[in-house]
Each structure stands twice: as structure tokens, then as C-alpha cells.
Amino acid sequence: MAQPVTLDARAHDKDALLTTKRESLWQDALRRLVRNRAAVVGGVIILMLYLMAIFADKIAPYPYEKQTLVDQNKVPAWMLKVFPTMQPYAKISDKYLLGADYVGRDLFSRIVYGTRVSLTVALIGPLISLIIGVTYGSISGYFGGRLDNIMMRIVDVLYAFPGLLFIILLMAFFRSTFARPEPGTFTYAVSQLDARLGGMLFIFIGIGLTAWETMARLTRGQVLSMREKEFIEAARTIGATDLRIMFRHILPNIVGPLVVAETLAIPGYITTEAFLSFIGLGVNPPTPSWGSMISEGAQVIRTYPNQTIFPALALAITMFAFNFLGDGLRDALDPRLRGTQ
């Protein structure tokens, strides 16, 4: 040995040590997310959709509920070029950008307002399933043993339960005239609340009832694998409480997969809403929802395809955007891909 090796690390060059790049997991994930073009496009579209939902009254040229009966099924001239086979009975008029529906409401305005319903669902769905599902799954996975067994069997039972049928029954009951007549009763209060939310209450309940189970299972699995990690054991040896271990040590470690799963589940919630509205169990008219618009348009799809295609297009774009963002998030948060690109 030419030189004695200094064991004390303090002897090392200060600058060399301090130039290490300090990057948290989240910074790293964000960096990789913005490098993913599809995810960025998805994110930007979602952002624009939310702006559109918030400023719907500024963007929409007409109020969504305004009926102009003489303008029934009006079709703009350019539509004929796009759909040469369509044979509108009504007059051609460029008064409405995308045409008007069967009672003369502006299609474009209704699509803009429809964003509100879909994006509220995209916000509330994950909220409900995260709050209920993550709490439930964390408790089940963390405490394990018999409790876990019981809690998961409950989920299994609920999972086997036909959720859609349940929502339909709920709505049929609470929205029927049978439930309404007595003010002061529970059913009355619920149906009033539903009416005040424009008929979205049951959509939330329906999504909440079915979505949290998947989330609970996922969370439980993640917590279960985390629980055995040595740093959780270490947290226990320093006297951390169960709550502290759950929220400070386990949750931040599993939030990645949860966020990804939730983002990828959003299109599912939007479809559920659209489906319910399509079969006439969604929002109350005249509140526009893409699902109900598609349903109404489908009846005249041969003569006025514009009434179906544009709401469907809006739905498709939204779902693509969420899927792209979800995929991007999954790649960005994948620990195996850390530090790449």
C-alpha cells in the first residue's frame, strides 16, 4: 500500500459528496411522466376538460336546457360533407355548431355541460373508492389473521353481488312515485337529495358500492407485502404506533400502485355513469350527460348521426385521456424503471 487508507469518510472531498443529485421518488416519477408524450397529452386533455366543466357557462353558446322547437334536429351544412349518406328531414342551418337535438337544444352546449357530469364522476368515484377501499384494505392487510379473513370474505360476498342490479333497484325504488309522497321520511329525504344533485346521487352510490371492493383487495395485497418488510419491523422497534406505521411507513410506499389502479379505473366509472344514463337511470333531464345524449341520439342515428357521434366522441376522448395518463403513471411509478431514461 502506497498510502494509508483513511477509514474516516470525513476525509473525502466535500464537493464530490455534495454534488450527489438529490431526487425524491416523486421527483423521479414526475420527470419520467413528462417524458412520456401520451401521458402528457392525456394529462393536458384532462386539464382542458376540467376547465371546460368549470367554465361551461362561459364556453357554451346556449343554455343547455333551452329548447327552440322550430330548430328541432337542425343540422349545420358542413355535417353533410362529413356524413354524405345522412338525409336530414329538417332544414340545414348553421345556427348551431354541431346541430340541435330533437327538441331544438344546442348539441355543442349540451356536450360542454355534459363534461360536468362525467368529470364529477371521475372525481367522486376515485374519492369514494380510495377512502373506503384503502382504509378497509389497510386494516385488513395490516392486522391480518382472522380479521383479515372475515373482512375479505365480506368483500368476496359483495363482489359476487350484482352491483348494477342493485343500483337499478335502488333508483327504481327511490325515484318511483311510491317513495315520494311523505315528506319527512327517509326515502323522501333521499329522493330530494338525489333531485338536488341532478340525479347524480345514485350514480355516486352505485359507483361507490362497486368500486371500493377492487381497491380494498389491491390495498390489502400491497399492505400485506409491505408488512413483512424489514423497515416496518424497524419502525416497530422504535416504538411507532400502528397508525403511524400504516400512514407514515406503509401508505407512502404503496401509493404508487394505488394511484395507477385508480387512474385506470376512472374510465370505468365514466362508462358506468354513461351506461346508467343510457338506460335512463342516470341524471335527471334536462341535465345533459353524454350517456343520455348518446341514448337519445341512437334513436335517430340514421338520419342524424351527429347527435350520437359527438357525445360518443367526447366520451371516447375522455376515456383515452385517462387511460394514457394512467399508463404513463404506471410506467413512471414502476420501481423497476427507476432512474432510467
Binding site: 477509514l7 474516516d8 469518510a9 470525513r10 473525502h12 466535500k14 459528496l17 455534495l18 450527489t20 438529490r22 425524491s24 421518488l25 389473521g145 418488510k229 424489514e230 423497515f231 419491523e233 424497524a234 419502525a235 416497530r236 422497534t237 422504535i238 416504538g239 411507532a240 404506533t241 403511524r244 407514515r248 411507513h249 407512502p252 410506499n253
Partner: protein, 328 residues
């Protein structure tokens, strides 16, 4: 010296599909103030389970402490409420683990992790706790401790992480530090550094240490007393010099015989111990080492020997006097 921790008749079992595993079978020892006790034994002999039982960190089910006492400051750790034992962990008795690579939470900064015991036990604000954490990191030899508080575990090397782990264990100045093979995952030069560090901190902070290892070489220069474990029993316990000078149990003799020694001259073959460690599915009514023991006599197969005093502060659990080859 007064006794800080007294463990008596500790028994821990695990329920498995094959049956009940008797991991620890009536272990008794005491730890005095400022003393370093080495617990030595091969894998699966119950070293870790013993200390985990004391801190009540055995996952239950399947594990269970079925008998015994662990008296610390006049109170039995094994009978405390969960809340009481939680206040002991990390504040009065803390632990350093074997693998520094997996013992840190990858998403929290080092500073927050080292400061965590202070937040839990001392009720410090985050700012205060981080300041103290920086002092502690400097004390264990992390350069630029203050700047490195914001770093994440993956930005530290294995040796550095083990230093950080020691800082985390000692940040509340506990009375007892339990080190569960803290140098096993490190290479030899780093091992030496960590041992020197622990020795220095022991002198500065005056805590007692329970050092678990399978490496008799490490213990020699570090411990005051050594307990050798085999098959869930302590089979020999003595002052460190006494143990190395006069190993009495055939297993201890075998262990020392399998080690190269710096202080011997001439050539000697390293001896290995034949056979495998016992399966702990039943509590034997014979000496657990008998199947591998070349000194075994008839008696060994009928009765499991208790710890017997052979010299002051030197106890051994063996029916045979290995020096004379005769039964005790």
C-alpha cells in the same frame, strides 16, 4: 454492577404446519449496566427469537412467548400492556438489524427516519428532532450530516446505512442496545469500522449492549460476557476471556476449533462440527447436542443437562467434563 435486564426461563414457540417449533426453550440470562453481552450460535439456534421475544416483536400468530420473565427496571416486559412496551422500544431498549439495505423506508429521507424516535418518544417538534438527528449522524461519522438529512436511503452505501441505523437506535440514548448481527451483511473492513464505532459510542453513552452474532471472532474483542446458544438453549455462559481460554461445552470447543486464531503458532487443521443443527419440532428429553457430540455418554441420551457452574461466572450445560472425559 447492578442488573439492568434479567431474563428468566424464556420460552418461545411457533405454531407451524409441521407442528410446534420450540425456538427458545427456557433461556435465562442477565445484563448488567454498561455491559456488553454476546449471544453466539449458528443460524436457527434462537438468538434472534430470544431478543425479539424480550421486545415483544414476535409476530403472533404464529409465534408465542409461552413462559418466562424479562425484568427491566422492576417491571416484566412480557406482561406490559402494548402501550407500555411501545414506550420502551426505541426509547430505552433499541435495536439494530442485520441488513442495513432493507431496514430503511425507501420513501422517507434519512433525517426524518433518524428523527422519528425523538418525535415518538420525546415529543419533539420536527425541527428540533432533525437538529438532534444531525448531531447524532455526525456522532456516528456521517460526513456533512446536516446536508445529508435530506437524502434518501438509496443514496447511502451499506456501511453508511448501518451507521445511520445505529444513530437511529441511539438517538434517544437508550439504556440497552440490541444489535442483531449488525455486521453480517457488511464486508470485513466496514465490519471493523462499525465495531469500533459501537465501542466508542458505548464508552461515550454508557449503554449496555446485547450483541448477537454467529462470529466468535467479533465477540472476542467486544463483549464482556458471552452466552453460547444451541437448539434454543443457552449451553454455555462465561466471561469472554474465560470462554476463549477454557471452553467447556463440546459445542463451544467445536466452534472455537473451527476458527483460525491470530494468537496461535504452528499449523493446525480447522475442525468442522459434523452433523446438522437440530430440528426444533420437539423439546428433547436428551441433550440437544448429543447426536453431534463426540463426548456423548449414556446419560446424555436420557436427560437434558441444565446449566451448571464450573467456575465463578462460568456455567455450562453438559454432563461430561470434557477435560477428563468423565461424567460430572
Amino acid at each position: 454492577m447492578t442488573e439492568l435486564l434479567t431474563v428468566e426461563g424464556l420460552e418461545t414457540q411457533f405454531r407451524t404446519r409441521e407442528g410446534i417449533v420450540h425456538a427458545v426453550n427456557g433461556v435465562s440470562f442477565s445484563l448488567r449496566e454498561g455491559e456488553t453481552l454476546g449471544i453466539v450460535g449458528e443460524s436457527g439456534c434462537g438468538k434472534s427469537v430470544t431478543v425479539m421475544s424480550i421486545l415483544r416483536l414476535i409476530p403472533s400468530p404464529p409465534g408465542k412467548v409461552v413462559a418466562g420473565k424479562a425484568i427491566y427496571q422492576g417491571k416484566d416486559l412480557l406482561k406490559m400492556s402494548d402501550e407500555e412496551i411501545r414506550h420502551i422500544r426505541g426509547a430505552q431498549i433499541s435495536m439494530v438489524f442485520q441488513d442495513p439495505m432493507t431496514s430503511f423506508n425507501p420513501v422517507l429521507t434519512i433525517g426524518r427516519q433518524v428523527a422519528e424516535p425523538l418525535e415518538i418518544h420525546m415529543g419533539m417538534s420536527r425541527k428540533q428532532a432533525l437538529e438532534r438527528a444531525a448531531e447524532m449522524l455526525a456522532m456516528v461519522g456521517i460526513p456533512h450530516a446536516k446536508e445529508r438529512l435530506n437524502d434518501y436511503p438509496h443514496q447511502f452505501s451499506g456501511g453508511m446505512r448501518q451507521r445511520v441505523m445505529i444513530a437511529m437506535a441511539l438517538v434517544c440514548t437508550p439504556q440497552i442496545l440490541i444489535a442483531d448481527e449488525p455486521t453480517t451483511a457488511l464486508d470485513v473492513t466496514i465490519q471493523a469500522q462499525i465495531i469500533d464505532l459501537v465501542k466508542r459510542l458505548r464508552d461515550e453513552l454508557g449503554m449496555a449492549i446485547i450483541w448477537i452474532t454467529h462470529d466468535l471472532g467479533i465477540i472476542a474483542g467486544l463483549a464482556d460476557r458471552v452466552a453460547v446458544m444451541y437448539g434454543g438453549y443457552i449451553i454455555e455462559m462465561a466471561q469472554v476471556d474465560e470462554l476463549y481460554a477454557h471452553p467447556t461445552h463440546p459445542y463451544t470447543i467445536g466452534l472455537l476449533g473451527s476458527l483460525p486464531r491470530m494468537d496461535e503458532t504452528g499449523h493446525r487443521r480447522l475442525v468442522s462440527i459434523d452433523g446438522l443443527p437440530p430440528v426444533l419440532l420437539e423439546k428433547p428429553n436428551y441433550c440437544p447436542f448429543a447426536p453431534r457430540c463426540k463426548y456423548a455418554v449414556e446419560h446424555c441420551w436420557h436427560e437434558n443437562p441444565p446449566l451448571m457452574s464450573v467456575a465463578p461466572e462460568h456455567q455450562v450445560a453438559c454432563w461430561v467434563d470434557t477435560q477428563t472425559g468423565r461424567e460430572r
